[in-house]
Amino acid sequence: MIEEVFNVNLPVNETLTLRRNRFSPEDISTSTKRISIVTGIHGDEIEGQYVCYLLAKWLNNNKHCIKGIVDIYPSMNPMGIDSITRGFPFYDVDLNRNFPGNTSDFMPAQVANAIVDTVRGSDFAIDIHASNIFLRELPQVRISRSTADELIPLAEKLDIEFIWVHDAVTVLESTFAHAMNSLGTKTLVVEMGVGMRITKEYGQSLTKGILNLLAHVGIIERAVLPTTKTTVSNLHSEVFFVNASKSGIFIPILEHNVTVLKGEKLGEIIDPLSGRIQETLISPCNGLLFTIREYPVVYEGSLLARILEDPKEDTAL
């Protein structure tokens, strides 16, 4: 059932509406489990749209399997989604730095507050992101170290390639995921693909993973499928960042999602005016190239790649 969960009038003959599609069994009790699938907080990230579509399609076709509540929220920043705008249009702020929001603050904070209010009470939530327009990401779940023990077992059910456990950063306390985890909703953040694009293979894979998770927690009745991917995490290895030290145009040499060797060439930064190579980027370790720059123009400092160090290196030592 499609429901409106927040409305606010815009100045000229339009209403900003947040909608969800709720799938639920006929009988609901206090023990009925509920999950919220949220995406579109950043308007330039479209990957989650396809996942919502596939998930809603499956649930439409398999209503007899639904034992809990599945709420699908495809577009938490509707004006952003419809205008390729990452932040909240007009206010030019990142919605995902304004949680849990406040009804007495400016509009983005009110929208954030409304999202928290409507998702509040869910047992689980998945917030689907697509990196940004600059970086392509291997599908991954990002979890703060403070919630790792609780969330890693859940994340593993998504049958996803990579779980990145990161240090707690104060600024991330203003994200949707932090707000919901603080309220007792176990919330996973998925990053995959690249901004402004849909990677069908990733969307299909994540949808299968979400169905698998739903089966595990009893929200749908369906055989739990065996995991097909080897999920790796950085609990026993390090993530290396490769940043540009020169400005120019980045030309990658390697494809995304490959194993690289220490010293292997990742790409070059070139200068179109002089015809010279400004910098050659070299892998600092053996590992998995899980992030690669997609947008070629770079400044000093621009992130070009991230590599998950191969844990075998440690054991070899």
Partner: protein, 317 residues
Amino acid sequence: MKEEVLFEISSLSRNSLKVKGFRFGREGTTPSCVIVGPMMGTAIDQLWIASQLVRFLRQHELANAAFVKGEILVIPTVNPYSFNMGKNFWPLDNTDIDVMFPGYDKGETTQRIAARLFEKTNNYDYAILLEARKDHVECIPYVEVLESGMSYIEDARAFGLDFIHVKEEMPNDTVSLTYNWNVWNAKAFSLISGKKGILHKHEANKVFDAIVRFLVKKELIDFSTFEGSHGNLVMPNDVEAIKSSAAGLFDTLANIGDSVVHGQPLARIFNALDGTLIQTIISPCDGIISCRYDYSLIFQNAIAYRIVKVESAQNTL
């Protein structure tokens, strides 16, 4: 006066970004004060204030070599690139430099800018940041001190502005420049005024005068100036946020700095298509308008006004 390029960031196609500082007095002497201009490329008032300050200090130092008694560093802006494009934030990725502190010199471009700026400004007795508010408002000049700066709130009175706002610290504040100055034991202040994208000389000159007054009172310059206001302390609960209940064309009836009484009409909102009057916004309290929504089209539930309530006049230090 010594004009310095504090640091540079190169670019693919534009001239290098050069962040300039103007140093007065003798480097390394006390008392010392750093004044940093805007990080947002639409904060024109703040650029005016900083540049006029450089002019003032330069002229007086030329006339009297002992005019500056300690050391003063003025950095008129950190973000010339955005000023030259009329953008708020970093032109390539729209990131806000003022959420990157204390910065990371091996990180992304704006993290590097933050790190370099912080390195050049973190060892002063007093540190002043010139800011425009990031939301769509026009506001009277005021001093903002974070809650963690309460121990030196008395120093804020040296500016002689009418209001000293004590800001409740949120997670986002921990990555701001003033918060990190504070951590490094500077007495850190934000001076906030005006509205983005336009020069309001009347308001800007009040801030200019306030800085000169502060420099006099802290014995940084040999100059005479009039006394300013005693400085009313405004705690977070002392401000009434007044929201629109309708959306449409916003016709303001009251200005920033106006004293208003309970029941006074502040603004009218008209239907943007048929011209019907749909709301008259009424003041719910007695007080002074500190901020006003600055755009002629208004959302429903937008913060139309902020009023410092008269009852806050009882606050004491």
